[in-house]
């Protein structure tokens, strides 16, 4: 029985690295498997495009490495046949693709959310079959992470390095993860402080950009916990701060060189903070997450696309990043911490609105999911029971609980993914939305889009008047200038029984 499965695509690796390069990657994988064995983890490698191997697993081999559906089906077959405690995707999206979930907040008219697709690995962590609807994947049950090579690479050195780091990883005492490096755009300092207080109990070490960055003194990034809340952009090796209309570089790939301590774990809220773009073809510095991992970081949680957060307090990207770090502090593996973060994020929302759905879809764990950065004291093991056997049993108990939780979420959580068709907004609602828009500082000419709330079959309460919203209204618009600085606002309003009964406001921060 395997505790951990590594999945990859041999044809895609061969296309990138040739026979010799692929052979060196396989050797590094075998070293990781041997290192896992010493830690009591039985690990196997499965090629998703290996017809014979996939047939044994009652699955169908991937023909087209870029096809999300084929890859989802193949990974589902792996899980059904082997039920691993950990699944590690080996390779960037040009080896095993992200899943292509539709972005419910996408605004084709321009100016709003520019991402038609919320790329992510969430569906690989769910039992629901392939779909482009992120609302199908709000009940994750599987522990999944991705160890990415460099997109477009032809030399295997980088991936071999990452595999070697994973093979040699060490769990450390929690005290080694008490300190942190935190960086925030100046305009979001309030929200970032709140996040840091929630995770670390203080915000004393928060750096603001400007003035911080992009260069840092040697040792300034040495803490093993990183929390970054800045601007980001697609295919960019830079994160940006903000003061007024100025967006200075806060951190870039060169400034991370030689600065990342082995064992670092980063939670990064930036838009595109987890974008694994093809730096080789583009001739750009490698993505920041891949700079981290290449220097010995164990894990990195980041977003593939545009991310959201409220102006005051915390929400969306803030929360999923916090939950990830908090789970790690409790001694979870990287993969379990990511799963717990997703489950907690879904659980804490009464219903998942379009922004919530995009958030849970877009954040991905980069790193070997079986790595436990922080060591926790295990339970006493009775005489005659091997430590690995006892740990396997404890892990099975944890997985059973996570499975129950995920299934419960999938069965019960309502979502607002589908845009309402032919909806006629009453005068009462129209007036209420107009008032909310005005209060939120949205300029005239805004447009709300209505989304129907869909509850899983059988989960809606019966015999009582409805108590949960039946529809959400989303407006993403430019606010009136505040302190001479125009800022963006997304308003999500909840409708119940023909009335607007609440709303949330997300600001550009």
């Amino acid at each position: 029985m395997d505790d951990k499965i590594i999945v990859t695509n041999r044809a895609a690796l061969l296309r990138k690295y040739g026979k010799t390069g692929t052979a060196s990657i396989v050797r590094a994988v075998n070293k990781l498997i041997a290192a896992d064995k010493k830690r009591g983890i039985a690990t196997s490698l499965v090629y998703l495009d290996d017809a014979a191997a996939m047939k044994k697993l009652k699955g169908v081999a991937v023909q087209n490495p870029a096809d999300p559906r084929e890859n989802k089906n193949a990974i589902d077959a792996v899980f059904k046949a082997l039920a691993p405690d950990y699944l590690m995707i080996l390779g960037a999206p040009d080896v095993v693709p992200h899943q292509d979930m539709s972005n419910p907040a996408y605004d084709a008219s321009g100016g709003g959310d520019d991402d038609p697709t919320a790329w992510g690995d969430l569906p690989y962590g769910c039992e629901a079959p392939y779909s482009r609807d992120p609302a199908k994947f709000i009940g994750p049950t599987r522990v999944v992470g991705r160890l990415p090579d460099l997109a477009g690479a032809s030399k295997p050195t980088y991936l071999v390095t990452l595999l070697t780091i994973a093979a040699g990883y060490k769990s450390r005492p929690g005290s080694d993860y008490m300190g942190y490096f935190a960086l925030s755009a100046l305009v979001w300092k309030g929200s970032t402080r709140a996040s840091l207080n929630n995770v670390f109990g203080n915000a004393d070490k928060l750096l603001l950009a400007p003035p911080s960055g992009p260069a840092y003194k040697k040792g300034e990034l040495k803490a093993r916990m990183h929390f970054i809340n800045c601007h980001g952009a697609p295919a960019s090796p830079e994160f940006y701060g903000q003061k007024g209309g100025s967006y200075p570089v806060a951190l870039d790939t060169p400034s991370t060189q030689g600065q990342i301590t082995e064992g670092t774990v980063a939670a990064v809220e930036c838009c595109y903070g987890g974008d694994l773009y093809d730096s080789i073809t583009l001739g750009l510095d490698r993505p920041i997450p891949q700079s981290y991992l290449g220097q010995g970081a164990y894990g990195y949680l980041g977003s593939t696309t545009i991310a959201y957060g409220p102006a005051d307090g915390n929400g969306s990207a803030d929360l999923i990043c916090q939950y990830f770090l908090l789970a790690l502090q409790d001694g979870a593996s990287l993969g379990r911490a990511a799963l717990l973060a997703r489950q907690r994020f879904a659980d804490n929302a009464a219903q998942l609105d379009p922004i919530d759905l995009k958030t849970i879809a877009q954040f991905c764990l980069l790193g070997d999911p079986a790595i436990h950065p922080i060591a926790v004291a295990g339970a006493e093991v009775p005489k005659g029971v091997a430590l690995a056997e006892a740990e396997r049993f404890s892990r099975a108990e944890r997985r059973a609980k996570l499975k129950q939780k995920g299934e419960f979420l999938a069965r019960t959580k309502a979502t607002a993914f589908q845009r309402s068709k032919g909806v006629r907004v009453s005068a009462t609602i129209s007036k209420a939305l107009s008032n909310i828009a005005k209060a939120a500082g949205i300029r005239d000419g805004h447009k709300f889009i209505a989304y129907d709330v869909k509850s899983p079959a059988g989960s809606a309460p019966r015999g009582k008047a409805a108590t949960a919203p039946s529809r959400y209204h989303l407006a993403i618009a430019k606010s009136k200038a505040r302190d001479s600085i125009p800022s963006g606002i997304a308003v999500v309003a909840k409708e119940l029984n023909g009335r607007i009964i609440g709303y949330r406001v997300y600001h550009q921060r």
Binding site: A66, P93, D94, P97, H98, D100, G110, G111, G112, D113, D114, D115, P116, T117, W119, A151, G152, H231, G232, A233, P234, A235, S236, E238, Y240, G245, S246, Y247, V249, E269, C270, C271, Y272, D275, L276, Y277, D278, T281, L282, G283, L284, T304, T305, I306, A307, Y308, G309, A317, I476, A477, K478, P486, S487, G488, I489, A490, Y506, H507, Q508, R509
Partner: protein
């Protein structure tokens, strides 16, 4: 993020405009777009900053010919030639 990878484009002609981008998100700003026959793309210089690039800003209001890479809805320009 573009799963298929960057596509090299020898020539794309279009009008450069400034519009809002990523409203309500962590990316929101006034950004520069290339309005071409094939679509509307966020315009950046490959060698320039993603935010506040003065050389890109100088193209606003002009018709330009660009060469570079298409990445989903972003055009990463290696060269930009002002036509008018």
């Amino acid at each position: 993020m573009q799963q298929q990878g960057p596509q090299h484009v020898e020539s794309m002609v279009g009008q450069v405009v400034r519009e809002e981008y990523g409203r309500g998100s962590k990316s929101e700003r006034a950004a520069v777009f290339l309005e071409a026959a094939s679509g509307r793309y966020l315009l950046r210089r490959k060698a320039g900053p993603a935010f506040g690039d003065a050389q890109i800003d100088a193209c606003v209001g002009h018709r330009v010919e660009c060469a570079g890479f298409l990445l989903g809805t972003t055009f990463l320009a290696e060269t930009i030639r002002v036509i008018e």
